[in-house]
Symmetry: C2
Subunit: 278 residues, 2 copies
């Protein structure tokens, strides 16, 4: 069985548990850390967050929007965080929610998944408003480089329901269409595939049987956004626990900037998630 | 009547015509210009494209994906292009297709629309998969700063039809829901509003009456993507011509790197569009 992003992630979850820590240097968080909403404040924040979760979290999920606030200078901080995480053997999922036409998605694939790119991560999130099929360049390059793509399916915010719950002429909900498309893509792989799904912790179960995805799940919406470890356990009850990566951001990050407090907060979440998903 | 992005764009279209030139430094285009797929090649490309269209095009539309291929170094080139375009009095629409949760969209709003940002443009494209309402931080900051947001409605690629044509429980198509939401947002403004719609040139007319949008249109899909000036004229027949910005990229850029050839290609497209939309 060939290695894929799915199998790489599964190994990591087996070793460390399902916790992914969201690295979200928003203005509010930087100010609450008393470091100032500056590039230097963001550098400090990113380094502290990473150091605090090494050995506890399977992955980090930097929210690209907050780095982009500072343009190229913010991207340099993100590039450094990605390098440091690789060095520390922590997987990086860039939360970029990219999605464009086929031709343009070649650009996004090169940016986030090509070996030569300074932004090269283990997986990137993608948005299917222009169609799952249009994301093909991301899927192709991910597969070639044992990287992954997490496609937005049903997000944790209620504003998204109208679009994600709309029905195609065949009567299928958009969220189920996306899940089915992901499952088809993953059939190319022998084991757990390289294409994952983003599903918010507090969402109702889709009509598509999540046990048939053939790829990993990324689950936001836990902690400050209202979801609990129990919500996750219920939603993914029929899926192998080692395919579910659960993102927690503010509930951990607000414990900073002191590293030991951050570390303790991350461990508590890991233990809670381990227990609920066991 | 207060100035908005809509009125600023309209003034520019009245003065220069509806042409927007897509600045898309893809690997293919850079190689066809014999400049190499490098940061330096991209710098040359961006500068040449801008210089060739000053006085001819109302706006440029850099495709962020292609700049992002080079990480922070690519973003530095994009920042320089944005500055140069501002200096040359050319509007910049960043084709970023950003879209996330409410809180996260604050980050994208700061990145693309805040005065202090090195990436600050005149308008940015946004994707509504997480809901039009979730884009509120972009709309708010755009309005405050007389900047704009173009929300994806019906894109020029066929892969997007399943999602964009799906129907909500009320029987409304996703594309019509997005158009109606934009129109409601624009009612806050006296004149032409700050929220626009992206509609591909070769799409069928939506059920929502485009004449009631209250904001500008950004129209891709012309030229290399198969649409013609006549397609645009037909689709927007009921809309004021000075609210329609038409993007042409490869059909102009392939004429490079010689500036006079680029300039001639841009002028031909401007004249064609002017004639068809008059």
């Amino acid at each position: 069985m060939d290695e894929t992003f799915g199998t790489r992630l599964r190994d990591r979850i087996r070793a460390l548990g399902p916790l992914c820590v969201g690295v979200d240097p928003s203005r509010e968080l930087l100010e609450s850390w008393d470091r100032g909403d500056t590039v230097e404040g963001m550098e400090f924040f990113a380094r502290a967050a990473l150091e605090a979760i090494v050995g506890t979290a399977a992955a980090i999920k930097p929210q690209v929007a907050f780095f982009e606030r500072f343009g190229s200078a913010g991207y340099r901080v993100l590039e450094q965080l990605i390098r440091d995480a690789h060095d520390a053997d922590v997987l990086v999922v860039a939360d970029a929610k990219r999605g464009d036409f086929l031709v343009t998605n070649n650009g996004y694939a090169e940016a986030w998944l090509a070996e030569r790119s300074p932004l090269r991560v283990d997986a990137v999130t993608a948005s299917p408003y222009l169609g799952v099929d249009a994301l093909a360049p991301l899927f192709t390059l991910a597969r070639e480089n044992t990287r992954g793509v997490f496609v937005l399916v049903a997000t944790s915010n209620n504003e998204g329901r109208a679009v994600q719950g709309a029905r195609t002429p065949d009567g299928e909900r958009v969220e189920d269409l996306v899940l089915r498309s992901i499952a088809e893509l993953n059939q190319r792989d022998d084991g757990l595939g390289s294409v994952g799904a983003v599903i918010g912790a507090t969402r109702d179960a889709p009509e598509f049987d999540l046990a048939h995805l053939g790829g990993p799940f990324l689950v936001p919406g836990v902690g400050a956004q209202g979801g609990s470890a129990e919500n996750v356990a219920r939603l993914f009850a029929r899926c192998p626990a080692d395919t579910v990566l659960v993102n927690v951001a503010r509930s951990i990050l607000k414990a900073g900037p002191e590293r030991s407090a951050l570390r303790d907060a991350a461990r508590r979440w890991r233990d809670d998630l381990n227990q609920a998903l066991a």
